[in-house]
């Protein structure tokens, strides 16, 4: 470890945090999908860019990035003098090698292949210049490699020998050779990851000497650990926990702008790329009036207050508010108006039967829909109760189907569904999320090749999608993206309910400075990434940290001792009584 190797016994400071609930699937950065893994890579592998608090690309390995005039070539200027943790210099060649590997090797592209699918050629022109040639103009190139959701750059000299059998590369030689604010020194799957600080980190040294991420499967266990001083920080608590911790004077609880949405998808017309109808979706859902009525009858505000206890925002647009540059709100939001919803339906000819369920005049079928929810998602279950109730009010009958994620996705891909609960989070580059609403992601006629999210397919939307890809001016691009969101909003196929706030909690007595940026009027901070949080965090006072820990374990032993004595005493007393009497 670089820190404090020669120094006399100065007590080193440790930041103890709960690992992202998803955990680390694998430490192989080419294969990993889980957020816990991405979070870790962000700390131990460098990327070309970083993200500033507004979500825009900032300098990291690259100090400058410029598109060429034809907008097909990007030139990144790579910082010089940086060294991997094993002392070898970091050069443009490392980045070029990493990106090329992902472009050319199918296995290497498992996780991030789609980010570079438009790349023609990546070359290192000298140690400080990286040139990326794209097939078509691509505005999002500066978003391709950034901490968290972008591509981490790996040291070529370490990975080159592994590239032949990348699938089996577990990347488990510690300390991991990398570069970042931290160095991974120890890792036990599903238990913890230990890091030491890289005090020479180019974007500023971490204030803690060590970082420990501990895995908790249950949120309550993590919170209990936080309360008892086992850990200092946990990102991502649920609203109930948040409210409870807000009331705790020892705990700092902050809200950050949400980077995802929770919403409803409607199978309005499942079909293949060639337009062949597939699946068992209810035909009436193809009617925009019906979808509009569903939107009108949904009381999103109630969902915000009841399901997430008010810690979130009402949803409209398709992209979450975490990325203000793309955030869009409709000029005329659809209100909650069940009466109007009923009117709309009446007008469209959906007549109510004796049982209160309307009938589709075209197919003659009642408006009875399957409503798929994720069985492992508490919010889905909670929301579904409300939605069923509201839809009943307007003569629509929903039958909840609680399905495992896999089953749900498999139904979705086959078009065997009517309504689904859905949720997405996204990084700063909206391309992918927008992409899955384009016609190109519909399945082929043989059922394969699909990656659509709701079978949405709209020519105008696709046109704009292509346009935003090549719009290099951020403002311009935002406008195009706004138009796309408008189309989606009007179609009512993806009905966004809310954007839940990110909820982070930390111990006041041990850690400060975790949050980045300034809160808005509601006290909500900008979206946070682990990269900045752990980099900014500073020990509150080293001594309190030590004390809290010491007293915790001391108490434990006292309590354990007392319990033991009580048990033993009880046992002895019983023994006396049982065996003492000299009779049979």
């Amino acid at each position: 470890a670089p820190a404090g190797a020669a120094a006399p016994p100065v007590r080193s400071t440790v930041l103890r945090a709960a690992m992202d609930g998803s955990g680390v699937d694998t430490l192989n950065p080419f294969l990993a999908f889980f957020n816990g893994a991405l979070e870790t890579f962000g700390m131990v592998y460098p990327s070309l860019n970083s993200l500033d608090p507004s979500g825009a690309p900032g300098p990291y390995l690259a100090t400058k990035w410029e598109p060429s005039a034809d907008r097909l070539t990007w030139t990144f200027t790579i910082r010089e003098g940086l060294k991997w943790s094993d002392g070898k210099p970091i050069t443009a060649e490392d980045a070029a090698w990493t990106l090329n590997l992902i472009m050319t090797d199918a296995v290497a592209g498992t996780a991030n292949g789609s980010l570079v699918s438009n790349f023609e050629k990546v070359t290192a022109e000298g140690p400080a210049t990286l040139v990326i040639k794209t097939k078509a103009p691509q505005a999002s190139v500066p978003y391709v490699s950034h901490p968290m959701s972008g591509i981490p750059i790996v040291p070529k000299h370490v990975w080159e020998p592994l590239a032949k059998n990348l699938k089996d590369a577990k990347n488990d030689v510690f300390p991991l050779v990398g570069y970042g604010p931290w160095t991974l020194t120890e890792y036990k799957q599903e238990q913890y990851a230990k890091f030491t600080a890289n005090k020479e980190f180019v974007l500023g040294p971490p204030k803690f000497d060590n970082l420990v991420l501990q895995s908790f499967k249950s949120g309550d266990a993590a919170v209990a650990a936080l309360r008892s001083g086992q850990i200092d920080y946990k990102a991502g608590v649920n609203p109930t926990q948040f409210k409870a911790l807000q009331a705790d004077p020892k705990i700092a609880a902050v809200r950050t702008v949400g980077n995802g949405w929770m919403g409803l998808e409607i199978n309005h017309n499942a079909r293949t790329r060639s337009g062949k109808k597939i699946g068992t979706g209810h035909p009436a859902l193809g009617d925009p009036a019906l979808r509009k009525a569903i939107a009108l009858a949904t009381d999103k505000q109630t969902l915000v207050t009841k399901v997430i206890d008010g810690v979130g925002r009402l949803g409209h647009g398709y992209l979450p508010p975490a990325w203000p540059q793309w955030f869009w709100t409709p000029a005329q939001p659809t209100p909650y108006d069940p009466a109007q919803a009923n009117r709309v339906l009446d007008e469209a000819g959906y007549t109510k039967g004796a049982d209160g369920v309307r009938t589709d005049p075209k197919s003659g079928r009642p408006l009875a829909f399957r409503f798929g929810i994720h069985s492992d998602d508490a919010a889905d279950a909670a929301i579904s109760g409300y939605v069923v109730g509201w839809m009943k009010e307007i003569g629509i009958k929903l039958t909840i189907q609680s399905l495992s994620m896999t089953a749900l996705n498999s139904d979705l891909a086959k078009g065997d569904w009517d309504l689904l609960m859905d949720a997405w989070t996204t990084g700063p580059d909206p391309t992918y999320l927008l992409g899955i609403q384009s016609c190109g992601t519909l399945p082929k006629d043989d059922g394969t090749g699909g990656n659509t999210d709701s079978f949405f397919c709209d020519a105008a939307f696709d046109e704009l999608f292509k346009k935003q890809l090549t719009t290099f001016d951020q403002g311009e691009r935002a406008k195009v993206i706004g138009e796309m969101q408008e189309i989606l909003y009007a179609a009512n196929v993806n009905q966004i309910y809310y954007y839940a706030d990110g909820l982070d909690v930390a111990r006041k007595d041990t850690v400060t400075g975790l949050t980045l940026g300034k809160p808005d009027a509601d006290g909500v901070y900008p979206s946070q990434t682990a990269f900045w949080s752990y980099l900014n965090a500073a020990p509150a006072t080293a001594t309190t940290a030590a004390k809290a820990e010491g007293s915790g374990s001391g108490m434990t032993w006292v309590a354990g001792g007392i319990a033991l004595v009580v048990v033993l005493g009880g046992v002895l007393v019983w023994r006396r009584r049982a065996g003492g009497a000299d009779r049979e």
Partner: protein, 273 residues
């Protein structure tokens, strides 16, 4: 011993009554999240004797309502278990030739399957919901009944009255249905009360692991919601305790009843009473 059996029966009767009469005093408006207007996760008060859940519904109502599904899953699973187990055990015990051997092997194989993982796997495969949980429980617990019935069948068939019946000309069916079954059934019934107990526990566990239907109201799903919803952090003991205690009471009720009946049936135990 007898007194505890009475307690058990009392508890069961109380829960059965609650479950059966629940629709009479709990209306849709008290369970439908859209219509209730209680405070979110409020501690017990006069209006809500056991507090409210995350949607503002009365925990008391939920617990009462939950008894319906929890009990019926337990009972149906047990009925399936007893049916399957008794049939297999009886046949395996009676036909000690190849059929019996084969049946016993099947039973042994199933016994070697760990019940919870099997149930988990089964309900993961069958899909979420009460039906698959019920099936999973039945599939994993019939072996115990089959073993018991087989052992009892062997014991009964070794007794002279079977030989007498055979000497009188009784065939396999007569021996099995008229002589063995009546002598085996009391024990099966006793063991089935214990099966209900563990079926209810299994239901809660499977639901807790996320294999149940999260929108239905059962004790298991209440606990699951409480657990995933952060009730522990919020210190919402009123949300955590009632469903757990309800499970405990019902399971204990079945267990005590079963043991009391067993006590009555097993003269050897009575001798020492």
């Amino acid at each position: 011993m007898k007194r505890s059996g009475l307690w058990g029966i009392g508890v069961l009767a109380a829960f059965a009554l609650l479950a059966l009469t629940a629709p009479l005093h709990i209306g849709d408006d008290q369970l439908d999240v859209v219509r209730v207007d209680g405070p979110r996760l409020a501690p017990p008060s006069a209006a809500y004797p056991l507090g409210t859940d995350l949607a503002g519904r009365s925990i008391l109502h939920l617990v009462i309502w939950g008894s319906r599904e929890s009990l019926s899953i337990g009972l149906i699973a047990t009925a399936l278990t007893v049916l399957l187990g008794t049939a297999v055990g009886l046949l395996a015990g009676h036909y000690q030739g190849r059929i019996g051997q084969a049946l016993m092997h099947v039973t042994d194989w199933f016994i070697a399957l760990p019940s919870l993982p099997l149930a988990i796997s089964l309900s993961a495969v069958l899909g979420q919901g009460a039906a698959s949980i019920t099936i999973a429980i039945a599939v994993t617990s019939w072996t115990a009944t089959a073993r018991l019935v087989r052992a009892q069948t062997l014991a009964v068939e070794a007794r002279p009255f079977i030989e007498r019946a055979r000497a009188l000309g009784a065939g396999n069916r007569q021996v099995m249905l008229r002589h063995v079954l009546p002598n085996v059934m009391p024990l099966v019934l006793v063991s089935s009360t214990l099966t209900v107990a563990s079926a209810i526990l299994s239901e809660a566990t499977l639901t807790f692991l996320g294999l149940g239907d999260p929108t239905s109201v059962t004790w298991g799903s209440m606990l699951q919601t409480a657990f995933s919803g952060g009730a522990v952090t919020a210190g919402a003991w009123w949300y955590l305790m009632p469903p757990g205690l309800a499970i405990l009471l019902v399971v204990l009720g079945f267990t005590l009843t079963g043991r009391a009946v067993e006590h009555l049936l097993n003269p050897r135990m009575v001798q020492h009473a």
